[in-house]
């Protein structure tokens, strides 16, 4: 029988079949962060349970920790300190790997997991965080779980999982100028809705994917969850193996060679069968921007805000109406005419060195439009150091951007820092839910270069026109 990459990964980790499509899967890596992981660690301890293999468990401080220079355990978020201190105590007690504040391996969980060589092709990995699917771009089976499942994985090194259906999304053709993998995924969700992938794991393939650099592939898989998927996957290739090579936790020398033999078998056979297939002509994709409060509310940069009256499905129409109302827009309004108050570049979607280099190229010698609050937050401490060694931070600051310590920062609001109440923000993040970035904040999702171009013009701007 022809096999898909997904079924290879699944079968290799199946400890037991449990009936009705459920399997007990072996989990290779567990990652935690101070926001949700702390609950898992604390509960486990309360119940007197031990972590089965603490050396394969990792934890970072990214969600609640401040990103302002000179940060420490105290946070702008009230009670944030409790999360940080209790996570640190629990992590140390449990003997897991901790990337604490000040550690040069610290960063956003899904960014450092790849950067440090913790996730490898062919592994299973879970984290109590929905964007764990990002790591599927390495050909790993990685997905987000809840805190109780986190406890389960820690204590047993396994999880009971219902096997999802499998969808293949093929992107074929050359990308237009100014179009990035962020636009590809926004386009897909915009076209097939935020629930288009529900019940499925999704494999991205096609020559557009093959042509993407490894870092861009992470962006694509990152938003698989915004498509409603269990996870996203991309078969690893030479670019992936080169990416993994020599990372701190990756296998070395003989081990690497052995792993490589294994990794090279991680692809879907030619005639493998999928439950659902979507085909996208990459050439059709223009820069994309979200207009509403669901990641499915996406249009072309030169498109128009939709008219709810033209939507026949009642529940879709009412969600469109609510979104337009929350976003304070008018049906028929041009996307590239909308003025912004702020611009944010960062998050596990788009904060990697290649994103920052692209942004630097664009903003070099230009200035952020006056009155716009513009912020760049590197995805990891390593990325911060790398950027600074290349002088990118100077370019950003000269252009009028704030340059921060790494972390999730204003990708989401926990009661700490935010933009001014009600601000309109163009953002390289992944979620545009109501109040996601702060009270009344109107988020427009876009690629980092679209965000940068918009910051310079003070309105949502087509990067190709700058």
């Amino acid at each position: 029988m022809q096999k898909t990459l997904f079924s290879k990964l699944w079968n290799q980790h199946e400890v037991l079949k449990q009936g009705s499509g459920m399997s007990l899967l072996y989990i290779d890596r567990i990652f935690l962060h101070e926001r949700t992981g702390s609950v898992s660690l604390k509960e486990l301890e309360l119940k007197g349970r031990k972590i089965k293999n603490p050396e394969q468990v990792f934890c970072t401080m990214d969600h609640i920790v401040d990103t302002l220079p000179g940060r420490d355990d105290n946070t702008i978020m009230p009670s944030g300190r409790d999360f940080i201190v209790s996570t640190r105590d629990a992590a140390n007690k449990a003997g897991i790997n901790l990337f604490d504040i000040g550690n040069d391996k610290q960063g956003i969980v899904h960014v450092i997991s790849a950067e440090q060589g913790i996730t490898l092709p062919g592994l299973t990995q879970v984290c109590p965080d929905s964007h764990t699917c990002t790591l599927g771009a390495l050909g790993a089976l990685a997905w987000g779980i809840g805190s109780s499942e986190g406890e389960h994985a820690l204590a047993t090194k396994t999880l009971s999982v219902k096997r999802p259906k499998l969808m293949r999304v093929r992107f074929e053709g050359k990308l237009n100028q100014g179009v990035t993998s962020k636009d590809m995924i926004l386009y897909l969700i915009g076209k097939y809705s935020a629930s288009g992938g529900v019940g499925h794991a999704i494999e991205f393939s096609g020559d557009t994917i093959n042509a993407l650099e490894q870092e861009s592939r992470f962006t694509l898989c990152n938003m698989a969850v915004e498509f409603g998927c269990f996870t996203g996957l991309i078969a690893p290739d030479q670019k992936t193996f080169d990416f993994v090579y020599d990372r701190p936790f990756a296998p070395k020398e003989r081990d690497f060679e052995n792993a490589l033999v294994f990794w090279k078998k991680l692809y879907s056979d030619d005639d493998a069968v999928y439950d659902k297939e979507i085909f996208v002509k990459s050439n059709d994709i223009n820069p994309q921007v979200s207009w509403g409060t669901s990641p499915g509310h996406v249009i072309d940069i030169n498109g128009f805000i939709p008219n709810p009256d033209e939507i026949s499905d009642l529940s879709l129409r009412s969600s469109c109406l609510k979104a337009i109302d929350y976003m304070d827009l008018k049906p028929g309004q041009r996307m590239d005419s909308i003025s912004i108050d702020a611009a944010f570049i960062g998050s596990c979607t788009n904060s990697r060195i290649s994103d920052l280099r692209d942004v630097a190229k664009l903003v070099k010698g230009r200035k952020v439009s006056s009155g716009i609050k513009a912020i760049i937050v590197p995805g990891s401490t390593q990325i911060k150091h790398q950027s600074e060694s290349e002088g990118l931070d100077i370019i950003f600051k000269e252009a009028g951007f704030e340059w921060r310590e790494s972390g999730c920062s204003m990708c989401f609001y926990v009661g700490g820092e935010s933009f001014k109440n009600g601000s309109r923000v163009v953002s390289s993040t992944n979620r545009n839910f109501e109040n996601r970035q702060g009270p009344g904040i109107k988020t427009h999702l876009a690629s980092p270069i679209t965000v940068a171009a918009s910051a310079i013009k003070g309105k949502i701007t087509d990067v190709r026109k700058i």
Binding site: L24, K42, T156, G199, D255, F262
Partner: protein
């Protein structure tokens, strides 16, 4: 975990698509490393006109007196999508919800429900729409009855509808079992798998 066999309750008609966990429990309502003290923050951005001052928005359905004791929630497509925060389930549970009927669910949210004694039921769009219109009828007290042992729901006029849920999920809910304890019954198989895996994939083991 509280056992779930049968439930009879009025249902909240909440016909929205893609209700995300940020909406169910906004981040800033998660104030500590704990599973409790969350119901006050449930749907905070919709339930309160002024979140800080906790000024109630009486038009929001969860604030209607009729639904104060409701234990069933009916919603649309992709309920509980978005962030994996289990706090969304903990908040709903603390508020009193014990079963959620929807056209589809966010997959992490679905698993979180089962692990916390909440029964998530997937139903066709047609049935959901029918239930919504029954639940919206305020002229009578419309009690739905859910029997998990027979996997059936009885509408107020006693019509029976069947639903499907994985047996192991149903057992877990009915018996109130601890999933970690259950899995550890297979400890020998897990250890054996690991021993063999160390031979096959030594490079995985840090």
């Amino acid at each position: 975990m509280k056992k779930f066999k049968e439930l009879s309750s009025i249902a909240i008609p909440f016909m929205r698509s893609n209700v995300d966990t940020d909406a169910i429990i906004p981040s800033r309502e998660i104030k500590g490393v704990s599973k409790t003290g969350l119901s006050d923050g449930l749907f905070a951005n919709w339930r309160y006109k002024n979140v800080e001052k906790r000024e109630i928005d009486s038009s929001f359905i969860f604030n209607k007196e009729r639904f104060t004791n409701a234990e069933i929630l009916i919603s649309g497509v992709n309920f509980g999508c978005g962030s994996s925060r289990e706090h969304a389930v903990w908040a709903l549970k603390e508020w009193g919800i014990r079963s959620i009927l929807a056209i589809s669910f966010g997959s992490i949210f679905f698993g979180n429900c089962v692990r916390n004694g909440i029964l998530p039921i997937t139903l066709s769009e047609e049935v959901i729409k029918e239930f919504i219109s029954i639940a919206e009828d305020e002229t009578s007290l419309n009690f739905f009855r859910i029997d998990l042992t027979t996997k059936s729901i009885f509408s107020p006029d006693n019509a029976e509808y069947n639903f499907d849920i994985i047996d192991s999920y149903a057992d877990m809910l009915i018996e109130g079992l601890d999933p970690i304890g259950l899995t550890l019954k297979n400890k020998d198989e897990i250890d054996k798998f690991q021993r063999e895996d160390v031979q096959k994939r030594p490079w995985v083991y840090i």
